[in-house]
């Protein structure tokens, strides 16, 4: 039998190819590290530069400051006033208010819808619901912000007789719309992942589908649903455009949800354009960015841990 001239494999090509693939794979890791480094880098002067610390130090950003000799100490965010004020509390409060409204609005709706989709819906209906939710997820946040600003704000203001058209409530509801798909997807995955034998056992004992859902499936899927809620909360904290357009952008400390608010993300977006490069204001904005990064990192890590624990639990049960 004649043999072909088989070319020997180029070891260099294999080696180079593998290295390029490996380096590309490291990209995600490198990017995360780079993001942290470069954002935190611009906030370091807060910790090291005494000139910056005159205006904005950790102390000054956290605790009440007496800005004027004849007035009592207060928390205030007013970077552009004659006496620059950098309290983070109004911003933190605003972020939390918007997030709370969003979660109160989104969690019941999303979880209930997930329960219906995975427990009661026919598979044809399921094939319709899930893409619709994906479409909702695909709406750009600037469009949701636009909708909140132009339509929702007016509706809510007229319905409730509010003073401020743009406030935590309005922004929070629009924010909830953005968060619903995240919670829904994760919760629905968790619910459908509960194995059939578990449900069939309960049904065979005479329980009706709702009892099965409430007593068996929901508890089993709880880690997954919680993970969805946690991830949704992470999104609510970090979301920018919706709150930038619909929350009123007033750094106010108040207990009311119908007052205007300022969130961390909106602050950065609104003020970065006019800030002087290298100034204390600049450093503080990057510091806020670092805070956001760390918060959402931690929240997402928590959510993922919950999800992986759920996966392990289900694998153990079904194996």
């Amino acid at each position: 039998m004649s043999h072909f001239e088989f070319k020997p494999k180029s070891k260099i090509r294999e080696f180079l190819g593998e290295k390029i693939i490996f380096l590309s794979a490291l990209s995600a890791l490198i990017v995360v590290l780079l993001i942290f480094v470069f954002i935190f880098k611009e906030s370091i002067p807060i910790f090291t530069d005494p000139e910056v610390q005159q205006e904005a130090s950790i102390d000054k950003m956290t605790f009440q400051q007496q800005y004027y000799k004849d007035k009592p100490p207060k928390w205030s965010w007013q970077p552009n006033s004659e006496v620059p004020k950098y309290s983070l509390l109004p911003l933190a409060l605003g972020t939390l208010k918007a997030a709370i409204v969003a979660m109160l609005f989104a969690v019941p709706l999303a979880v209930a819808a997930a329960i219906y989709t995975s427990e009661f819906a026919s598979s044809r209906f399921r094939e319709i619901i899930k893409p619709i939710i994906e479409l909702l997820a695909g709406i750009p946040s600037v469009v949701l912000g636009f909708f909140a600003l132009i339509v929702l704000a007016t509706v809510i203001q007229e319905a409730l007789g509010l003073t401020f058209r743009l406030n935590a409530l309005t922004a929070g509801i629009a924010l909830g719309l953005a968060v619903i798909p995240i919670i829904f997807t994760v919760a629905e995955d968790a619910l459908s992942a509960v194995p059939m034998p578990l449900r069939n056992g309960a049904l065979a004992l005479g329980a009706n589908p709702w009892q099965v859902s409430l007593t068996m499936v929901l508890p089993a899927a709880l880690p997954g649903i919680s993970a969805g809620v946690v991830l949704g909360f992470g999104r609510a904290i970090g979301e920018t455009m919706i709150v930038l357009m619909a929350s009123g952008n007033a750094a106010v400390i108040s207990a009311s949800f119908t007052d205007s608010i300022r969130t961390f993300s909106a602050t950065i977006a609104a003020e970065l354009a006019e800030v002087v490069f290298g100034s204390a204001h600049y450093n503080v904005l990057f510091f806020i960015g670092s805070l956001l990064f760390v918060f959402t990192f931690a929240i997402n890590l928590g959510g993922d841990l919950l999800l992986s624990r759920l996966k392990l639990k289900l694998q153990g049960r079904s194996s």
Binding site: I132, V143, S265, F286, T296
Partner: protein, 322 residues
């Protein structure tokens, strides 16, 4: 001979099976109804938003609207530069994100064991990248691409005081967006790679092909639908994000179209944001505003629907082959 033993029957217990109470029986219907209500509410809200945008924006849409530049302070004319800028932006983004995302997915699926340390680290990074707030990407784009890379290029290659690359530019905005959409591409590609049966790869190896050859000749062609899905979803996401491009290159009004990589650009999402929040006369710009929103929405939805269709075809093919 051993007699088979019959188990003793348990003694009769004194109880009655209660008939299901009205509450129990009806709670099923009530809960079904309530959860269905939630689904309906969500769908209704989506319909309201879409309906509102179509109702107010449809009349503005015309060929002229899409192909002519804005006039009269955004109160008339079209949005062509914003459309152009958006398209240019996402094209640059796709060129950057798809190769890296695909290669990352290939590395995770073909080169490592699922439980290795490096795999877990990379996956944690991907999951967290997916959760980073978009404004943080904008900050990073400003601080890294413009402030570090761009300035660096300027100081090495250009001597004049004016920044050439160390300023907002479409290339930096595109690179920032590509970081944001990287997880989308990776996840979609991985989903496609997982559907490739091991036998197909085995057949290639058994004929003497190397891993690289198998990847290029068998694996990537087979994963193409998933890669396409990832690219489309990335484009859809990238076209809609505003915060990352606000400080890295987007502008509200430019008398020129971007023609160089370090030009600024107009963009649909950014246009909507500025017009909605900073127009001196909101009522006058409302038609254009709604028209722009409709264009962006149609664009995003079309892309998403195409991606969903491709993905479901892929999933159906996988279940047949398996």
């Amino acid at each position: 001979m051993i007699e088979p033993r019959i188990a003793d029957t348990p003694p009769p217990v004194d109880y009655e099976v209660q008939p299901t109470s009205f509450l129990t029986r009806s709670s099923g219907t009530v809960s079904k109804g309530l959860t269905l209500l939630a689904v309906i509410i969500i769908i209704a809200m989506l319909a309201v938003i879409i309906g509102n945008v179509i109702y107010h924006g449809a009349s503005t849409i015309s060929w002229d609207f899409l192909t002519s530049p804005p006039e009269n302070g955004m109160e008339a004319g079209g949005i062509f530069p914003a459309v152009f800028g958006t398209v240019a932006l996402v094209i640059l983004m796709v060129i950057a994100v798809v190769p890296i995302g695909v290669l990352t997915a290939i590395y995770l699926q073909e080169y490592t064991r699922p439980d290795s340390k490096i795999t877990r680290l990379i996956r944690i990074a991907i999951a967290n990248l997916a959760g980073v707030p978009s404004i943080v990407f904008g900050l990073f784009g400003l601080g890294f691409f413009i402030g570090f890379v761009g300035s660096g290029i300027d100081s090495v290659f250009f001597d004049s005081g004016r920044p050439v690359w160390g300023q907002p530019a479409i290339i930096w905005a595109a690179m920032t967006l590509s970081l944001l959409t990287l997880p989308v591409v990776i996840i979609a590609t991985e989903e496609a790679l997982r559907t490739i049966p091991a036998e197909l790869k085995d057949a290639s190896y058994a004929l003497g092909a190397t891993k690289l050859q198998t990847i290029v000749r068998v694996i990537i062609p087979q994963a193409l639908p998933g890669i396409l899905t990832g690219g489309i979803l990335a484009v859809s996401r990238g076209a809609g994000e505003v915060a990352p491009i606000m400080f890295t290159g987007a502008a509200y009004y430019l008398p020129y179209l971007p023609s160089k990589l370090n030009d600024q650009f107009m963009e649909l999402g950014y246009h909507i944001y500025v017009m909605a929040t900073q127009s001196p006369d909101v009522e006058a710009t409302k038609p254009i505003l709604y028209g722009t929103v409709l264009v962006l929405l149609v664009l995003t939805f079309l892309l998403n629907i195409i991606a969903i269709v491709i993905r479901s075809k892929m999933r159906r093919a996988r279940s047949h082959a398996g």
